[in-house]
Symmetry: C2
Subunit: 353 residues, 2 copies
Amino acid sequence: MSAGRVRKEIDDALLAFVDRQRPGVLEISGDLAPLLSALDALLAGGKRLRPAFCYWGWRAAGGEDIEASRGIAAAAASLELLQASALIHDDVMDASDTRRGQPSVHRRFEAAHREQGWRGAAGSFGEGAAILLGDLCLAWSAEMFDASGLDAESLRRGRRVFDVMRTEVICGQYLDMLESARATGRVEAALTVVEYKSAKYTIERPLHMGAELAGGDPRVVAGLRAYGLPLGIAFQLRDDVLGVFGDPAETGKPAGDDLREGKRTVLIAFALERATPAQADLIERRLGDPGLDSAGVDELRAVIEETGALTACEKLIDQYTDQARAALDAAPVAPDARSALVDLAVAATARKV
Amino acid sequence: MSAGRVRKEIDDALLAFVDRQRPGVLEISGDLAPLLSALDALLAGGKRLRPAFCYWGWRAAGGEDIEASRGIAAAAASLELLQASALIHDDVMDASDTRRGQPSVHRRFEAAHREQGWRGAAGSFGEGAAILLGDLCLAWSAEMFDASGLDAESLRRGRRVFDVMRTEVICGQYLDMLESARATGRVEAALTVVEYKSAKYTIERPLHMGAELAGGDPRVVAGLRAYGLPLGIAFQLRDDVLGVFGDPAETGKPAGDDLREGKRTVLIAFALERATPAQADLIERRLGDPGLDSAGVDELRAVIEETGALTACEKLIDQYTDQARAALDAAPVAPDARSALVDLAVAATARKV
């Protein structure tokens, strides 16, 4: 079963669910069509990372091939709606202009409001529409999971993980926002955010959920989680590095966007920890400046490299990746799942530069 | 079983659920305590209207007394978390300062940000926190429903209604926002919003869900829905009247707040339909003015009365209330549920002036 084939089954399940919802929404009012179009556009992109980890957690724990059990395709794909909700709301909170190389949902509705010359503030209209579409995706995620077609006992086991996962990611988002506001600059605070907002949510819990859906042996579940958490941390640290040093064509975001947003990442915390007073002053002055130009981005990049923060972050990525690999080696997982999980680990943490 | 006793069982179930979630949240980080406090404060208020209708739908369809089945108390109370989510997000979208006589959630976090002298815009921090707490309530609502303890088959039947209900209320909110922006002023557009945002969500679907959870006879389900929809419309029209003419001590909102927010209600649509050009001009100039003072509120109130819109709205409330009562008379529901439903109808639509 190739990664491309799994991806196609997950995409098919996702689009089939949205298509089943469409007539009910349009029956309420044809005026709701723009909400559906915005969702279609968002779902056209994305790497389907969480569904893939969920599916391979299922396979690692002895679940059937995706073509023999369409239920797992739908249950796994429901995580993509959860992710859509998180992205839409995150973009409102960060006032991000783009997502997956397109205008973010709130900007899309803001532009529609402006074009139509409607009343009130276009920005508020855009934010309101995005809050509601994010809510719809959050509700539909649970609905899709429950309607996946897996048996009631499997769903009961999987839902416990699904429930924890939602609480963790929402709490992680709050802690992220809080750290941006408090700006303690502490590596530990940044790592807590990484753990809950990303590592558990993107990798550990999807694997965990897949394994529980399959009724996996507790040793398999424990092994997958021991692999997933450090891999998830490495994944987010890689993402943080790409947010500062990455190619816009690759990330779908303008160069240095994380710097403009003032994200308090582990990378930044490392830089502050190692900075001279002059360097720290530069970071504190420029980080989070919405008008930061490419010269400003270059200045911040230089400080992050000169302090050794980039090297320290790369080292940490390597350490966590090694830890994940060792946990996977020790876990009693099925052979084809093992090779897929190795590939996913490489894809999630590769330098891409 | 008195209304007070039902209310207490629902409150107990709600608070027990939140208390079960608390340690898991605080284990992630003690910094999450303010989210829980904000939720506690919000849940301390509220009339528990949706849980009450759900419970009486259950009883009307032959379900056991609340003391014999704690599962229905939890399943019904889960609707209060859905409502908390809707209120928190609605207040962000409407930029409302207060809710249930206290600061709205986003204002609460905005104030905390300001007091602490944190970085960034206090308003954005408040909105972000409110978006996330609303998300948490939406997720927890589904979690509480699923963990209510009712049997799997009952939950499966009830969840179908729960799913539709969430989609309807979110779509209704969008249509409400859209009508405020487009300001078509059409009675029909305002009535569609009333139907989906309020009538189905507050009364018809909670009754429907309760009856389905009880495995009710289709005739009972149909009868309850035929009672619930018109009653729900009457309920919202009453709320619209109170939003303009109500006593702040009763509504928990400043006098004329709906006028300041520029809500495009059926009451306003009636006024515009009947207005002279001068009256229409006054409405269009003053409605939605955030700085509207008490003299401005009085001016708008006078126009709404003089056009006959208030009388037309009261007449419509009476018509829908009568229609609801007739449907209830014809429905084959259990006697004690019938008398409770009559009381709820009175409570939901009474003039309160």
